[in-house]
């Protein structure tokens, strides 16, 4: 068996105080990934490199498979009945779908933040942050420190530091989403996937979350799906433009650095999209 048990917590406590004893970003490579839903091909041979410590944005009109692709990256796609996939996804060079990898382990290394904030409403803020660690059975020695650090990184600490016992469901939408980010970071993933995390939020929460992305990207590779092109320009180092045309399932039209995609796109369709001629 080639699965290592979870890394022991850092005894000296010098490194970041999460379950993995220190964050180290990972690189993701999607190699000719295809997806089906109940026999219908929705993603066709998508290949993309998402290098470590960079923010990759997936942009494109709605319904072209960006979220499906994202869910394939952390093995959430197979949860849907009738969903199938093809191709490979390599995390630091190893295929996450190979027979000896467990989905639960992968999801601890590749975390996800969803479009609609989903904190556990019956748990306190503290318990929410620690819930991911509890799922993996990791013993946390300094709970308060972990909670504080994660909430600080998510930019929520100052607002909730006096009411850590409040229930997760009592926060506002933006606060809930930041709580979800803190919760995901607590597990210590190498990659963080974000599926339109700000689309349901107000502008100031959006701004705060974009700041968080900029702060964490040295420790966690970020892949973000976004509808908002200005947001992509603000946060992303590189972008991939997805498109699904009438007779073709979703695929990548063009991918490159943010400046290249927005100022100097190679494909005409990319140029049309980024200049708002369709969307």
């Amino acid at each position: 068996m080639t699965i290592a048990p979870p890394a022991p917590p850092d005894p000296a406590g010098t490194a970041s105080t999460n379950g993995r004893g220190g964050l180290s970003p990972g690189s993701l490579v999607a190699d000719e990934v295809s997806a089906w839903f109940s026999g219908r091909l929705v993603l066709e041979s998508v290949s993309l490199e998402m290098p470590k410590s960079l923010v990759t944005a997936l942009i494109g009109p709605s319904g072209c498979g960006k979220s499906t692709f994202l869910r394939i990256l952390n093995r959430m796609h197979e949860v849907v009945p009738g969903a199938e996939l093809g191709g490979q996804v390599l995390l630091d060079g190893r295929d996450i779908y190979s027979a000896d990898m467990r989905a639960t382990e992968i999801r601890k290394r590749i975390g996800m933040v969803f479009q609609k904030p989903n904190p556990f409403p019956a748990m306190t803020i503290e318990d929410n942050v620690l819930s991911g660690l509890r799922f993996s059975g990791t013993k946390v020695r300094n709970k308060k420190a972990v909670v504080q650090e994660m909430l600080e990184r998510a930019g929520l600490w100052n607002e909730v530091k006096n009411r850590l016992r409040a229930l997760g469901g009592e926060l506002s939408g933006g606060q809930q989403q930041r709580l979800c980010i803190a919760r995901a970071l607590a597990v210590g993933p190498e990659v963080l996937l974000m599926d339109e995390p700000c689309s349901a939020l107000d502008p100031s929460s959006t701004r705060r979350i974009e700041e968080t992305i900029a702060e964490i990207k040295n420790d966690v590779t970020v892949v973000i799906v976004t509808h908002n092109m200005q947001q992509a320009q603000r946060v992303a180092d590189q972008c991939a433009f997805f498109l699904a045309e009438e007779n073709r399932p979703g695929h990548i039209v063009e991918a490159g650095t943010t400046s290249q995609i927005f100022e100097n796109p190679t494909d005409e369709r990319t140029a049309d999209y980024v200049h708002g001629r369709f969307g």
């Binding site: 639960t104 969803f114 989903n118 991911g132």
Partner: protein, 353 residues
């Protein structure tokens, strides 16, 4: 549905805006608009339909209410014969001599059997419901749901037959095992496992009846439970999965906290059914009027089974006593069922459904 307005006839008045028609407002102040009250005139067809439907409903209501009332009234003569307290606490049910009827033994064993049924049936129902909603592949899910619905329609007399002819011979060995090795626990203690003639003293016990009734309540609890668990929000489930939770983790963190209230309600409904189960119990047990904690031993009782077994014997006073006992049972079941719906509605399950 709001009442449709078929015209302005009979509508309430609406005050004009910007005028001082009512005379209350000082000059220059605008009168706030008042809502119109809308009413409808029914067509003849609708009037007949509504009358018909309403009268049937009222008739059903009156009938059922009368039944409840009548049961109460008809059980009163018993309390003239002896006080309610005596009725509740006497264990014997004598038909001859000084006629004293007490429902204590019957009530005690009714509760004991129902509790055993809950202990046996509810874990099975929980496991089956979780299996259906969380673990089963789609085709197996449908098959299992059909199986459970089938179990729900099997008549109780058949369950009684099975319990008497199949379960009992096989379980007495296990009961023997329990009383031999775990006899230090009072409920498992049996003073004598065989009677003088060599017959087993472990047959016809509350234990066996409880197992049979427990199986009978599994379908009810399972169907309600699986409906409830399937309502657990997908967003939370996915959130837990994305954090690396196993299936068990998702159940613990999302499904169970969500479905807890509803499951308790379902359990109570199962308990209500177990209290009222008549024929299966009547077939399996051997009737006794002694109260003891030894539930592995021969001898049990239940109000419903008592009525079924003894309704033909004894005189009018006994029949009235049986009726009074039945009314007590009815009240207990009623309270439990009402409690169940309150608990479900107050819990998070009810809030979302």
């Amino acid at each position: 549905m709001t009442s449709t307005s078929e015209g302005p006839e009979g509508a309430g008045s609406s005050a004009p805006v910007g005028g001082a028609a009512s005379g209350d407002a000082p000059d220059g102040w605008q009168e706030l608009p008042k809502p119109r009250f809308l009413t409808a005139r029914w067509t003849r067809q609708d009037r007949i339909y509504r009358l018909l439907v309403t009268s049937v409903a009222v008739g059903a209501f009156a009938l059922l209410f009368a039944i409840g009332l009548f049961l109460f009234l008809k059980s009163l003569p018993t309390y003239k014969h002896e006080s309610f307290w005596t009725f509740l606490t006497t264990t014997s049910f004598n038909t001859t001599g000084h006629q004293v009827f007490g429902v204590a033994a019957a009530l005690y064993w009714t509760v004991v059997i129902a509790l055993i049924a809950v202990v046996v049936g509810v874990p099975i129902a929980l496991a089956a419901a979780l299996f259906i909603t969380e673990y089963a592949p789609r085709r197996l899910r449908r098959a299992l749901i059909t199986l459970i619905d089938l179990l729900a329609v099997v008549p109780s007399v058949i369950f009684g037959l099975w319990g008497f002819f199949v379960l009992e011979p096989n379980v007495t060995g296990f009961a023997h095992f329990l009383s031999a090795h775990l006899g230090f626990i009072p409920i498992f203690h049996t003073s004598s496992t065989t009677l003088a003639g060599g017959a087993s003293n472990l047959e016809g016990s509350a234990f066996i009846a409880g197992i049979v009734v427990g199986l009978m309540i599994v379908p009810i609890v399972t169907s309600i439970a699986r409906e409830i668990f399937s309502l657990a929000p997908i967003g939370e489930r996915e959130g837990a999965l994305a954090l690396g939770a196993t299936k068990a983790g998702v159940i613990r963190a999302v499904v169970w906290p969500f479905g807890r209230g509803g499951f308790v309600g379902a359990t109570m409904l199962g308990l209500g059914r177990a209290l009222g189960e008549t024929i299966a119990v009547a077939i399996v047990i051997s009737l006794t009027f002694q109260v003891s904690p030894e539930l592995l031993k021969t001898g049990a009782n239940s109000i419903a089974a008592l009525i079924a077994i003894q309704f033909g014997t004894g005189g009018a006073l006994k029949l009235a006593a049986l009726l009074a006992a039945g009314f007590v049972l009815f009240c207990v079941t009623l309270v439990i069922n009402l409690g169940a719906s309150v608990i479900v509605n107050r819990s998070r399950t009810g809030a979302s459904a």
